[in-house]
Structures are given as C-alpha cells and as structure tokens.
C-alpha cells in the first residue's frame, strides 16, 4: 500500500517539476528564472560554492572553541525545548494530519491503515523539511556559518524532522488525553506548572550554589557569555537539556568526524520519536477531514486572489462614508475598496489619530528637555514618509491587484475605463496620502525647532505644504504603474497553485520591481525639470520661499497632468483587457 502512496507522491512532484520546466518555454518564465537564478546565485549559492572568495562581514554562527560550541548547543537546546513546551501547551484541537481534499476523498474510504496514512504523511513532509533545511543552510551560509554545507543541511534536517515528529506525537498524545476527559485548560495548567517547577528548581540551584550575578558579569557580551556558559555547564541544566542538545549537536559539528559522532545519538532520538508516532493509535480522521476542508477553503481564497481571507474569517466592516445611489459612479469602487481596507481607515479614525498625533507633537515641542526626542520623532516621521512613498504602493493593494479575480464583474458595469481605473486606485491613494499627511505634520512640527536659524519658519511651512500637495498626485502615479503592469501581464500576478513559484517567481518580482522603479523615475523627470527651472528663475527674482512655493505648484500641476494621463491609460488597458486570454481567469 505504501508503494501506491509513494507512487502518488513521486509523480506529484515529478509532474509539478515537469510543468515548471515546460513553462520555461514562455519568455516570461524564462526571464524570470534567469534573473531569479542570478539573484539566488549571487546572494546564496556563491557563498556555498566559493566560500573562500567571499568576504564575510558577520561573525560565524558555529563555534570557534569547545566552550563556544557548548554555549551555542545550549542556546539551540533551549530554543528546541521552548518549541516542545509550546507543542504541549498551545494546541486546543484534536490531532489532524494535513491532507488535501483529494487525498481525503481517495485515501480515507480506501483500505489504508492509520499507520500507512501516518507513513504517507511523514513521507510527504520530507519534501517540505528538505526544502526548509536547504533554505536554512543557505541563510546560515550567508551569515557566515562554518563547516561543509552538506553537513549543515543534514544537521538542519535532523532538527526539523525530529521537531516534526515530536509535534505529531504530542498532538496524538493530546488527543488521547482529551479522550480521557482531560480538558485543554487542565493540560495547559499541568504544562505550566511543570515548566514553573523546572525553572524554580534551576533558579533555586543557581541561587544556592552558583556565584551571584554581579555588574562585572554584565560588562559586555563576552562576560555575559562566560557567565551563561558557566551556568549551562553546571548544575541540573545540562541534564535537563541533554536530549535536546543531542538533536542540535550534528548541526554545530565543526568537522566530519564530530558530525558522524553526533549523528548516531541524534538519529536514536529521532527513531524513538518515530516509534512513538507510529505506535500511537489515535483517531485523526474526523479532524483531518475538517482540516482538509479548511485547507481547501484557504487555497480557494488564495487562488481567487484573496490572500487576506486565506485562513481567517472576515468581519463586517463599517462603511467609511454613506454611499448615495446617485453621483459619480467611480465613487462606488472607491467606497468598496475602502471597506475592503478595513475599519482602520474610517474618517473618524483618521481624525482621531491626526488630532492625537498633532497634539502629542505640539506638546513635545513645548518641553525643552524633549528637544532630542522631537528631533528623533521628526526624523523618523520624515524617513517613514519617504519609505511609504516608495514602498506604500506595493503594500496597499486595494485596487485592480485585489480585484483581478472579479474582473468579469467589473467588465459588466456600465462604466468607462477611466472611471473604473480611477475608482480602483483611489482607495490606496487616499490611504497612503492620509498616512503621509500625518507624517508630514509630525515631521514639520518636530523638525521646525531644529531648523531655526537655517531655514525661515515660512520656508519650513512651505516645504511641508508643498510636500503635502505633491504626495497624493505622486501616489496616484505610483499606483498607476503596478496596476498597469497587472493589466498588461496578469499571468505574472497569478496566485494559487498555478502561480509561478520558486526561482522564476523571484526573478519575475525582481524584474517588476526594477521596471516599476524605472517607470516612476521617468514619470518624475518632467515635473523635476519644471520644478528646477522655475525654482532657480523665481529664486533669483523673489527669494527661496516664494521660489519653492511657485515651483511646487507648477510641478504638482505637471504631475497632475501625468496622473490624469496615467488614469486614462489604465482605463484603456482595462477596456482592452481580455480575461479569457489569461490563465488567471
């Protein structure tokens, strides 16, 4: 029977790989794969393949001395121990093995024993574990871990698989406890009391037998480390953490011999876990069916482009304003997308937050001792504002990017392309602008005192007002670009199981990020040129403040024209968009 399940698993992976290789014939995947491959090579694989040529700026994770090795081993064991405690304390449901709906439909009615299903589950989990082990090896190599990468990958595999087995075994045991009438809270109390008892015991021993912690022990990282190493190496802690150390040890082994020596005990721990899991006779079918349905709902939500709904229940949200049944129709899309964005963006909330932040900023400004704090707050606000200008459009996506699966509904509406386009991108524009205006107020209020003597108050005010005038138009342009890209290349934004994954997806995202950045730069050039020309002309005649004022207004007008053209272009793309030609539909 397990052979049939192995067949299923092997062919699932084989077919998926074949499909991904075949689609490299399409340029969008091929270019994505090339760029993604270069990125991964440059950032990760180069470190693995040519470690000598890389100049690490990080201190190695693995140990330079036996004392260091013990220290890292104890830290790792403590982390592992924490996971184990959580595995026993947190769950509140019966054990459920994750199966897809198709697997439930085929395997559960079939003459397959529970043990075989567990073996199938373990076999299937290997792909995820191996991938995670490889990924963690790449990341740890990037940050300067020592030893051969294959050893580290095997070390990660031992840790992850043992943890996986323990989580499974714990879930089975918890189910058995539930069947015997032990409630979740009783179990949690028992876990908590056990942990408190252990910590008390260790604390008591440290208090009685161990030298008192002095300020000299806290001088620097080395003294803290030395004290901790001493504490870990004596008393009850080494015994308590011993099984967990065994699991961690292969990863931290400095050479091949040490690795082989550490591997035996680690595999023994793993074997004991395996026996525990396969010998547990727990009815997991019902909970698994429920879990598979939830998984299917989650996948369906993701496939429909609704990442937000995946795995969580939506709540009814208050409309941001009353939508009358007559008036500009694009406002309906704006209203809808604001509801989508959540309760946090109702006008009342923004007024409250604005007033609160403004009052806080003014009050801080009035306190002399907080001068440095206001400078920090002002700089942080300015930095955050700049950051939202560049990255905000990627994060606030209540526009075409969210509505792509509903495109046929939008197409039926009696709206012109530009109306749909404007309605779609208004919500993220408004959200970003509201955040940025708030940050501008904070920045101006907090930085104005520091600017005294360098800039006149009127200039500071004009700079703040000018930025506030430009940001909504800038946001509109910034949002036109990713939305236009979505309508031009919808398959690149595809979600769900058919979505590009892995290296080609990373490459596609890199290409898109670069393309969007370039498009934004090009869009800004005319406005920047106009600003510079007018600024220098007016400055010569009427001074800096007026120059900034006039140049900003004219540059904003240029940006507004560009934004309007962008919306028209987006509308035209929407009208031309043929859903049936896209796999996402």
């Amino acid at each position: 029977m397990i052979a049939a399940l192995a067949y299923l698993q092997v062919h699932t992976v084989k077919n998926r790989l074949t499909m991904r290789i075949k689609r490299l014939k399409q340029p969008k995947y091929l270019f994505g794969a090339l760029v993604g491959g270069l990125y991964f090579y440059w950032y990760f694989f180069r470190v693995l393949l040519f470690p000598r040529g890389i100049n690490h700026s990080y201190s190695p994770i693995t140990a330079a001395s036996p004392a260091d090795a013990a220290f890292y081993e104890f830290i790792g064991a403590l982390v592992f121990f924490t996971f184990i405690v959580l595995a026993w304390g947190l769950p509140h449901k019966r054990a459920a093995l994750a199966f897809s709906e198709a697997e439930v439909a085929f395997l559960f009615p079939a003459p397959v024993t529970r043990r075989t299903l567990i073996h199938f589950k373990l076999m299937r989990s290997q792909f995820g574990i191996l991938f995670s082990a490889l990924f963690l090896t790449l990341v740890s190599s990037r940050f300067g871990a020592n030893g051969h990468w294959l050893m580290r990958a095997a070390g990660w595999w031992v840790i992850l698989f043992t943890l996986n087995l323990h989580l499974l075994g714990a879930s089975f045991s918890i189910t058995m406890l539930m069947d015997r009438g032990i409630s979740t809270w009783k179990r949690r109390l028992a876990v908590l009391l056990s942990v408190i008892a252990l910590l008390s015991f260790v604390g008591f021993w440290i208090g009685c037998k161990f030298p008192q912690l002095t300020s000299a022990d806290l001088t620097n990282f080395d003294t803290i480390k030395a004290y901790t190493q001493h504490a870990f190496a004596s008393g009850p802690l080494p015994y308590l953490l011993f099984p967990f150390q065994l699991v961690i040890r292969p990863y931290l082994a400095p050479d091949g011999f040490a690795f082989l020596a550490a591997l035996g005990p680690a595999l023994l721990v793993m074997l004991l876990h395996y026996l525990w899991v396969v010998r547990s006779d727990v009815a997991f079918e019902e909970a698994s069916v429920e879990a598979s349905q939830k998984l299917a709902e989650k996948l369906a939500a993701v496939r429909a482009g609704n990442w937000r709904t995946a795995g969580k229940k939506l709540k009814q949200k208050r409309p941001p304003f009353r939508l009358h049944s007559t008036g500009p129709a694009f406002m309906a899309l704006f209203w809808k997308n604001l509801i989508n964005a959540g309760n946090a963006i109702t006008a009342r909330t923004w007024i409250f937050v604005t007033v609160f932040v403004a009052v806080m900023s003014f009050s801080m400004q009035g306190v002399r001792s907080n001068a440095n704090l206001t400078l920090v707050v002002g700089s942080a606000a300015a930095m955050l504002g700049s950051w939202t200008l560049l990255l905000g459009p990627q994060m606030v996506r209540q526009d075409f990017r969210h509505d792509l699966p509903q495109m046929d509904m939008l197409k039926v509406f009696p709206l012109r392309g530009w109306q749909v386009a404007l309605g779609e991108i208004l919500a993220p524009t408004t959200i970003l602008t509201a955040i940025q205006w708030l940050l501008i107020i904070v920045a101006v209020v907090c930085l104005a005192p520091a600017a005294k003597g360098k800039f006149s108050p009127s200039l500071v005010l004009v700079l703040g007002a000018g930025t506030a005038l430009v940001v909504p138009i800038f946001n509109l342009i910034s949002l036109v670009i990713p939305n236009a890209a979505e309508l031009l290349f919808p398959a690149w934004f595809q979600t769900g199981k058919d979505a590009p994954q892995g290296i080609e997806a990373t490459g596609q995202r890199l290409i898109f990020a670069l393309g969007q950045f370039l498009a934004l730069i090009v869009a800004l050039i005319p406005a920047a040129a106009v600003f510079a020309a007018i600024f220098f002309a007016v400055k010569f005649l009427a001074g800096v403040t007026l120059a900034v004022c006039v140049a900003t207004v004219v540059a904003a007008a240029v940006l507004a024209v560009e934004a309007a053209l962008g919306v028209l272009l987006l509308g035209w793309l929407f009208q031309r968009f043929d859903i049936s030609g896209e796999p996402a539909s």
């Binding site: 009814q316 129709a329 809808k336 046929d408 509904m409 709206l415 043929d578």
Partner: protein, 245 residues
C-alpha cells in the same frame, strides 16, 4: 432587442465562436445549449461585454455593445454560474454598491423587495462567507435585478439551488420574460431549457447547428424520425449536424 451578427471569437488559431448570428425580441427566452467546449460561455461573455469579440456586432436595445458600451450595458445583467461577490461587502452593501454603479435612485425599497422575494431579508448584514452557495447565488441575482435590466444572461442558473430555489428561479425567469425582458440561458440541463425556453440555439465547435423555436425544432426532427424531445434533438444535432438553411 438583441441582435447578434457574425459574432466571432478567436484565441490565436482556435475559433471559440464562429460567425454566430441571431436576434431576439422582447419576451423571448432562448436556451443556449451545446456540448462542453462548444463556445457557450464565450458567447455569453461576448454578449455581456466581458470579453471583446474578434469580429461581428452585438446590439442591445439598439445600442452597439462595442461603440456604445455604457448605454448597452445599462440594459443588461449577467449571472455567472459561480456567483461573483466581494467577500468583504455585506448583502446590503452589495446592493448599495450596485445601486451607485447603475445610478438606481431610491434603491432601498427595490432592494428590500428583492431580498424578501429571494428570502434574504434577514441576511442583510451577512458577508458572503456567511452565506450558503444558494444564498450567494440569490444575492448575485438580487444585485443583477436591482436596475431592472431588459436583457438578462444566465449561465447555469440552477447550480447550487435547492428545489424551492429552482422553482422560484424558473418562475422568476418566466415572470421577467412576460414583463418584456429578453433572456438567454446557457445550461446543460435540457429539461430546464425545454421547460422555460421559447427558443433554442445549439452550438457545436463554436458554430450554430440549430436555431429556432421549440416547436420548429421538434417539427423538423419529427419529420425525420418521428416524435423528438430536446434531448434526442440535441444528440442528433451534435453528433451529425444537419445543414442549416
């Protein structure tokens, strides 16, 4: 009311719909049937303005769907087999949203009546995620009917409905037709088509193989091989398509 002339839709070299022509008058209910892949959904989507046809024209109430899309779209409603709803809008918010899109002044009484007819009156504050599939279907129907369309397209309208819902849906379709609406139903349920449609159009490989009233088609096939119901007509027509006049 609907006039379709030489409607063609190509996907590269593949012809999904091939030079389809027909016209429908107020009160007519046309069944669009055909085997899987015949081009029914593509036709419906072209007729609704969701996808542009490669060639040909579609006129809705005298408005060309390509050149006067807004005027044409105001007259129609499209009900897909899978209800398309916004998961974050409640039942009432859906109606409010659609009212603004179609500029339905004073939509509240119309909306309430529709929700009562469709047994959704007690679900106004529910999100689609809290509704059963049948209720979602009903909500999509309420949204589509809010602006009193004169042309309606139903793609598999009975999917997910319970027996009572099926009965109500059939009655509702026939009532709208009696009131002068033009209705096109795409379905594999031949008994449904036979029961409520006054005209049938059978598609195969994107082309029209039969177009006519139930009586005309029955008469034509009866002449050839005795009495024929729609199922028999369908199988004969799609296996060996008769020559069209």
């Amino acid at each position: 009311m609907i006039q379709v002339e030489l409607l063609t839709k190509l996907y590269g070299d593949f012809t999904a719909v091939n030079e389809l022509s027909f016209s429908l008058q107020p009160g007519e209910v046309m069944g669009l049937v055909g085997p899987n892949g015949a081009g029914k959904t593509t036709t419906m989507r072209c007729l609704a303005g969701i996808i542009p046809p490669t060639r040909g024209t579609v006129n809705i109430c005298g408005h060309n769907l390509a050149t006067h899309a807004m005027e044409a779209k105001r007259q129609l409603a499209f009900f897909s087999d899978e209800p398309r709803l916004f998961e974050y809008l409640t039942v009432w918010q859906h109606l409010n949203f659609v009212a603004r899109i179609y500029q339905v002044a004073n939509f509240e009484p119309i909306g309430r009546t529709l929700l009562e007819e469709l047994e959704l009156a007690d679900k106004v504050d529910k999100l689609p995620g809290e509704l059963s599939r049948g209720m979602k279907q009903k909500l999509a129907i309420a949204c589509g009917l809010l602006h009193s369309p004169r042309v309606m397209y139903f793609d598999e309208p009975l999917t997910g409905l319970d027996p009572m819902g099926i009965r109500r849906m059939k009655d509702s379709i026939l009532k709208r037709a009696r009131d002068g609406a033009v209705i096109i139903i795409s379905s594999h349920l031949l008994h449904l088509v036979e029961e409520i449609c006054s005209r049938i159009l059978i598609l195969k490989n994107g082309g029209k193989v039969i177009d006519g009233t139930i009586a005309e088609i029955a008469q034509k096939y009866s002449r050839e091989s005795g009495d024929a119901n729609l199922e028999e007509v369908f199988f004969r027509a799609t296996d060996e398509p008769p020559r069209l006049p």
